[in-house]
């Protein structure tokens, strides 16, 4: 029997697949080698964090927040503790504010390094991967010496941070900052300036500005599509308004720019940490908060700029020790929706590159 023309067939990819960066699953419809449609299927890492929050006290929920975006733990907790502090009208000591910024921005650098590393690994670049992980390890060491944990430090508390940094922290941070320009040059030379990387990524997977806004894309992916928007500038939280930094924006809208903007953001984060390192005052790191937290009745919506996109915390308090509702809006969850839109017409191997450029972490997608 003869089959006329070509037939479309569907292929299951994931949830156990090295290129899906976790437990992401997609059903890919292919015409030959060309992708015609992608259906993302998520929920393999769903732990029901929103439900869990309702049966835990405000303080007990802090460790769970680190597990959302486990590559940049501190920034998730930052959003949560600041939302609760807003609700309770708590003042945070100066030193704690600076330590929070240092940790949050170190987390951002660590997260972006993993993104660049895995992006290069997906196009078979092994060396950039080892360079990025080598340097990320120094950040994780800084987390470990302070809070005891490498990836989920659980360092922030409602009203401050759990403890002051140890003596050896500041010298280690200083030497890391001093080495950073050289590291960035290395990444540029081996990955972004590489001809193979450029030919694989440039003008692949275009996400136009209008589409990005309509799809509610946030974070670095939006900024790589030509929208200069960052919550740290638009609605400064914590003490971000004291620092001098830029919001990088690129207009290429393609996979290369979505990778490259992360490198630019690392440089801006470095600037912030340098200023915080210079200005950090001495003093207490924790304010006096009651043992049993009972925020007054009310609701708050607090936004922070997570490395993966904007994170929103909608906390409703009914005056008891446990929240009535904790809603977590995660950037990566909404950003998944760009995948089916931008892969149409690209080949199977481009799908892997495009997927890497979206910078998803499944802890945040599945909550």
């Amino acid at each position: 029997m003869m089959i006329e023309g070509t037939q479309e067939y569907s292929l299951n990819m994931g949830p156990q697949h090295p290129s899906t960066h976790g437990v992401f699953r997609m059903v890919v419809h292919l015409d030959g080698e060309v992708v015609t449609k992608v259906e993302p299927k998520i929920g393999y890492l769903h732990r029901g964090l929103e439900k869990m929050a309702e049966s835990r006290t405000y303080t007990q929920f802090i460790p769970y927040t680190d597990r959302l975006d486990y590559l940049a733990g501190p920034h998730n907790s930052l959003g949560y503790v600041q939302a609760v502090e807003k609700l309770m009208d708590t003042e945070v000591p100066e030193r704690a504010e600076y330590l929070r910024i240092i940790f949050a921005e170190l987390g951002r650098i660590a997260s972006h390094l993993v993104m660049i590393a895995s992006g290069s690994l997906d196009i078979s670049g092994w060396t950039p991967w080892s360079y990025c992980f080598r340097d990320r390890e120094r950040i994780l060491d800084l987390f470990e010496m302070t809070a005891g944990n490498r990836m989920t430090p659980n360092y922030f508390r409602i009203g401050g941070v759990s403890q002051d940094v140890p003596e050896e922290f500041m010298p280690a941070l200083k030497s890391f900052l001093e080495d950073m320009p050289e590291m960035i040059e290395e990444y540029y030379g081996i990955f972004f300036g590489n001809e193979i990387a450029q030919s694989r990524m440039k003008s692949v997977g275009i996400l136009p500005k209008e589409l990005a806004e309509n799809l509610l894309i946030t974070g670095a992916n939006l900024r790589a599509s030509g929208v200069q928007y960052d919550v740290r500038k638009a609605e400064p939280y914590g003490i971000y308004d004291r620092f001098d930094f830029q919001i990088p924006v690129l207009y290429g809208c393609d996979t290369y720019d979505r990778h490259f903007i992360r490198l630019l953001e690392i440089q801006e984060s470095k600037k912030i940490i340098e200023q915080a390192y210079k200005d950090i005052p001495a003093g207490p790191v924790m304010t006096k908060v009651p043992k049993v937290l009972k925020p007054p009745v009310g609701k708050v919506y607090h936004r922070v700029e997570n490395p993966k996109g904007e994170m929103g915390w909608y906390i409703v308090s009914n005056g008891s020790t446990k929240p009535a509702r904790v809603r977590i809006r995660t950037g990566a969850f909404v950003n998944v929706q760009m995948l089916p839109e931008i892969v149409k017409g690209w080949k199977m191997q481009d799908l892997v590159t495009i997927f890497a450029s979206m910078d998803l972490v499944l802890g945040e997608v599945d909550k």
């Binding site: 998520i42 929920g43 769903h46 029901g48 929103e50 439900k51 807003k86 609700l87 806004e213 309509n214 799809l215 509610l216 894309i217 929208v227 928007y229 638009a234 609605e235 009310g298 609701k299 708050v300 919506y301 936004r303 904007e310 929103g312 909608y314 409703v316 509702r325 809603r327 809006r329 969850f333 909404v334 998944v336 929706q337 599945d366 909550k367």
Partner: protein
């Protein structure tokens, strides 16, 4: 901080749809009946001078007697923020989908359906997103009973024809 011009626009909107305006912790909140949500959001998106044109979040909320759908609006071009809350009946939690205004609300609505059983009319693909397809009940509702560990540990029996 809430600007005066946004306050005026929101009170105009509230008067049109018989809504209530509240302000606390520097956030403006408008509560309307679920029937008017599409018109209210379209208007908010096209506010003169202070367009709230970016749907930052959409989520469900269980208040016992009724359910709420909470829309957090912001803008990429200004500092304005607005929260619109739509009330829907508990027995018939149907509300119009906003996917025609923001394509990206697709997943957010699917999640609200999955967790609260909110029926979004006009949604292109209203299926469970986190839980599996034959999961029963809506886990984020307050009356959802969490089964004991022993019950949950029982393996799912394959249905006929699967």
């Amino acid at each position: 901080m809430v600007s005066d011009i946004l306050r005026v626009r929101v009170s105009e909107l509230a008067a049109r749809f018989n809504g209530e305006v509240e302000e606390n912790l520097g956030e403006l909140e408008l509560t309307v009946d679920g029937r008017y949500i599409l018109e209210a959001l379209t208007d908010a998106k096209n506010f003169a001078d202070v367009p709230c044109d970016f749907l930052h979040d959409l989520c469900g909320m269980d208040l016992g007697d009724y359910l709420e759908v909470v829309y957090q609006l912001s803008s990429l071009r200004g500092p304005q923020r607005l929260r619109i809350i739509a009330r829907v009946e508990r027995d018939n939690p149907a509300i119009n989908s906003v996917t025609q205004i923001w394509k990206g609300s697709d997943f957010l609505e699917r999640e609200a359906f999955d967790m609260f059983g909110l029926q979004f009319r006009g949604h292109p693909n209203l299926k469970r997103i986190y839980m599996w397809d034959d999961f029963e009940g809506y886990p984020m509702r307050k009356d959802y009973v969490i089964e004991s560990h022993e019950q949950r540990a029982v393996m799912r029996v394959r249905k006929e024809g699967e």
